[in-house]
Symmetry: C2
Subunit: 241 residues, 2 copies
């Protein structure tokens, strides 16, 4: 909500010297600048260039959102390790949605000028950009379908299952569950529900021994039944290749 506070890292590269296991950014390797570290609660990036920057999220959680006049906030997507941020803004002459850090975060800015210059020469880069965009679009479609759903329980289950699958691809989750900084209020903002009702849905899911979400940990106790409940099909989440 307030200002921008990006603190450039003193560390030269990301921990371990290698990229995290995100599926999409292999082709972006040569365009990475030094990582930047942003504090929990801060926004990215609304810079002087009107948001025309792109990043790869190395570590931590973020979300993209829109607000409307009433002041309420709709979360559009959560971003985790390996996701790209604002990639579209480079090409369509439009600013991307704003991003908020749910945790302290490490991001790597993409060297835009270099990337754009290289698009002219190396077509496989373009293909990679396009593929990343298409995958983003598929996830968006899935969220849209989830919001079209009528019952709150199915929406909650679907979102938590989807995040689990995405986290599994980067080794941040198992079939049993994962840790996350999400609060019930975040689920509510993403799903078009009130936090009070999200609370009741979670209680109901807990009482049915389907899942628990407590203390930053999501645990699936009956994955089969959950998948059944919300008609979840994980095939849209896949590693590149």
């Amino acid at each position: 909500m307030s200002g921008i506070d990006i603190r450039v890292a003193s560390r030269a590269a990301c921990p371990g010297g290698r990229l995290p296991g995100g599926p999409h950014q292999a082709a972006f390797l040569e365009f990475l600048e030094a990582p930047q570290y942003v504090l929990k609660g801060k926004e990215l990036c609304r810079g002087e260039d009107g948001g025309k920057r792109a990043y790869v999220l190395l570590e931590g959680w973020m979300y993209s959102y829109r607000t409307w006049q009433s002041g309420k906030r709709q979360i559009v997507d959560f971003k985790i390790r390996g996701d790209t941020l604002g990639l579209g803004s480079l090409f369509a002459g439009k600013a991307s949605l704003p991003y908020v850090c749910l945790t302290d975060v490490a991001v790597v800015p993409l060297k835009m000028d270099l990337l754009q210059a290289r698009l002219e020469q190396a077509p496989h880069i373009a293909a990679s950009v396009v593929e990343t965009l298409v995958r983003e679009e598929i996830v968006l479609e899935e969220h849209l379908i989830n919001l079209g759903r009528h019952t709150a329980t199915a929406r909650v289950a679907h979102l938590l299952l989807e995040l689990g699958e995405r986290l599994r691809l980067v080794n941040l989750a198992t079939a049993e569950g994962y840790n996350s900084p999400l609060t019930q209020a975040h689920l509510a903002m993403a799903l078009g529900l009130t936090k009070i009702h999200v609370n009741r849905v979670l209680r109901s899911l807990r009482e049915q021994r389907l899942l628990t979400m407590w203390g930053g940990a999501v645990r699936f106790h009956d994955r089969r039944a959950l998948i059944e409940l919300c008609d979840f099909d994980s095939s849209y989440i896949e590693p590149a290749q």
Copy 2:
């Protein structure tokens, strides 16, 4: 719902010999094949190649959708003159969503092999593809935000206003309204509502002298108030450049 029935046109080109005024497809000119005409109610395209085809919609209305187990259908987006269909499927190794014709329709298949070959040589083509994808993504985001909204009235108003703006870009609408093949049931499927409730919302909007939707015609009687009502911001819909 049933089979595929694409009837290749006897006419050699589209009426008038020029492309309709869609904003996106100028760069695709050299990849267009002969137009095909598809009947109202038929699906596109689910071909033997698993849906890996892309088209430009020349004339008519279509929608993309997903079904879930209950058999209910969620409309993801409506497609009008100048929109591209299935463009993403070419790059991500995934089939696109299925499309249904709301009217008789004219589409132009894109020459995929040629397009892909040209991507290797002509970078501005890649840029154009990327831009088209980004615009699609922005529209999707807007739908998602619309579904996150709480009141049915705002959802309906937003959707009808958005379609009006998109139709204006291709000279199929004025500020006063437009003609469309949409039924109340289609609005319901797109907005996650029942058709009964859509009916009541439309009645209420009519009684408030805000808009009417009747006999295939959408009329805005108080655009200002409508925009206010649903917090509509048309800036995300813009002609390319």
